[in-house]
């Protein structure tokens, strides 16, 4: 019988333990999300993050140690961003057909998301690091993290802000768009995809197929546009 402390010290030295923990936490989060009927507030990533944060706190494990194992999952953000080109390619015909309203709505939604967030943050005296982390919050997570890193923000803060933005957008979209009297499914889906990325897109697909497709287009196009707008807007607010 080997000492439990010895086994623990072996586990903390390799990536196996925290890689496994990350997958299990996500698995549990996803099961919870399904059990709750895929409600936006029961987001699987948020559940997994809370679970892992508790486990790290209870075992006194530092984030650096955790990341040694979790980096393999984190690495997949890059290839996943490239893969997001596929739904965009699949919808190129619909993009061309509604090119003018799409471009106008993309500019309006994307600029509003970045500039209004920075304006409010600046008014409340947020630090430059916090503003840089906040600027890409409406963009899909892998891209937002890349943008925040490039601007001197903190990628981990961005990851959480992106999540909360998506959840909030998915919850308010239906009542907000109803109040505004928007009936065109393309407009409803597209604006949600631009403002609330993948979580908004998932929500749009629940409501209507066309809305979902256009939300996906909005998410993809906004990933590209925010990469350009965020550095410019941040420059203006510094």
């Amino acid at each position: 019988m080997t000492d439990a402390a010895l086994i623990w010290s072996y586990l903390t030295q390799g990536p196996l333990l925290w890689l496994t923990a990350t997958l299990i936490a996500y698995w549990l989060g996803d099961s919870f999300f399904r059990a709750m009927g895929r409600q936006s507030w029961a987001n699987p990533v948020l559940c997994a993050v809370i679970l892992l944060a508790c486990v790290l706190g209870l075992t006194g494990t530092s984030y650096r140690t955790y990341f040694e194992g979790a980096q393999f999952v984190h690495f997949m953000l890059g290839p996943a961003t490239v893969a997001l080109g596929m739904p965009l390619y699949d919808n190129l015909r619909r993009v061309r057909k509604a090119a003018l309203p799409l471009v106008a709505a993309l500019l309006a939604g994307s600029v509003t998301a970045v500039v209004s967030a920075l304006a409010i943050g600046k008014a409340f005296g947020l630090s430059e690091m916090m503003l840089a982390s906040l600027a890409p919050k409406s963009t899909t997570a892998p891209v937002a993290i890349g943008i925040a890193e490039g601007l001197g923000g903190e990628p981990t803060i961005t990851a959480v802000l992106v999540l909360v933005t998506g959840i909030f957008g998915a919850i308010i979209a239906t009542p907000l768009l109803n109040a505004l009297g928007i009936r065109d499914w393309r407009a409803r889906g597209f604006s949600l995809g631009v403002a609330a990325h993948g979580i908004g897109t998932a929500r749009a697909f629940q409501v209507n197929e066309t809305a979902g497709a256009f939300a996906g287009i909005g998410m993809g196009l906004n990933a590209v546009l925010t990469s350009i707008i965020a550095p410019l807007a941040l420059y203006l607010f510094q």
Binding site: T22, A48, A113, V114, I120, S138, A187, V194, G220
Partner: protein, 117 residues
């Protein structure tokens, strides 16, 4: 599966090298995304070859940002002091962005006389 994965990584690699050497603001993987759209448009057979792997990756998209999300435990102090400002900036700007996008889309559709789908 391996050739498809290799092609996706090559797009990302080209994107990273190009954005860094040209000093572009765009993150490398976003340029990779654009390369994928362009390549599939030029060669539709490529899209079908990549599709199974892409579907697999996108089906688990949210898993990939768990590690970054967990990083917030290292910044809890930051959120305690900035929490209200961040929450306000996040909620107000998201609501404004949804409204702005949808209203502009509708206005341009009406202006150009385009029919709803």
């Amino acid at each position: 599966m391996i050739p498809a994965l290799a092609i996706i990584l090559v797009f990302q690699l080209i994107g990273e090298v190009a954005t860094r050497s040209l000093g572009l603001l765009l993150p490398g993987p976003v340029l990779g995304l654009l390369l994928l759209v362009l390549s599939c448009s030029l060669r539709p057979a490529l899209a079908e070859m990549l599709r199974p792997v892409v579907t697999g990756i996108l089906g688990h998209l949210s898993l990939f940002f768990v590690p970054a999300g967990v990083g917030v435990v290292a910044h809890l102090g930051q959120f305690r002091s900035d929490g209200l400002a961040v929450a306000l900036a996040l909620t107000v700007s998201t609501a404004l962005a949804v409204a702005a996008g949808a209203l502009v889309f509708r206005a341009v559709v009406r202006w150009t006389g385009g029919a709803e789908e």
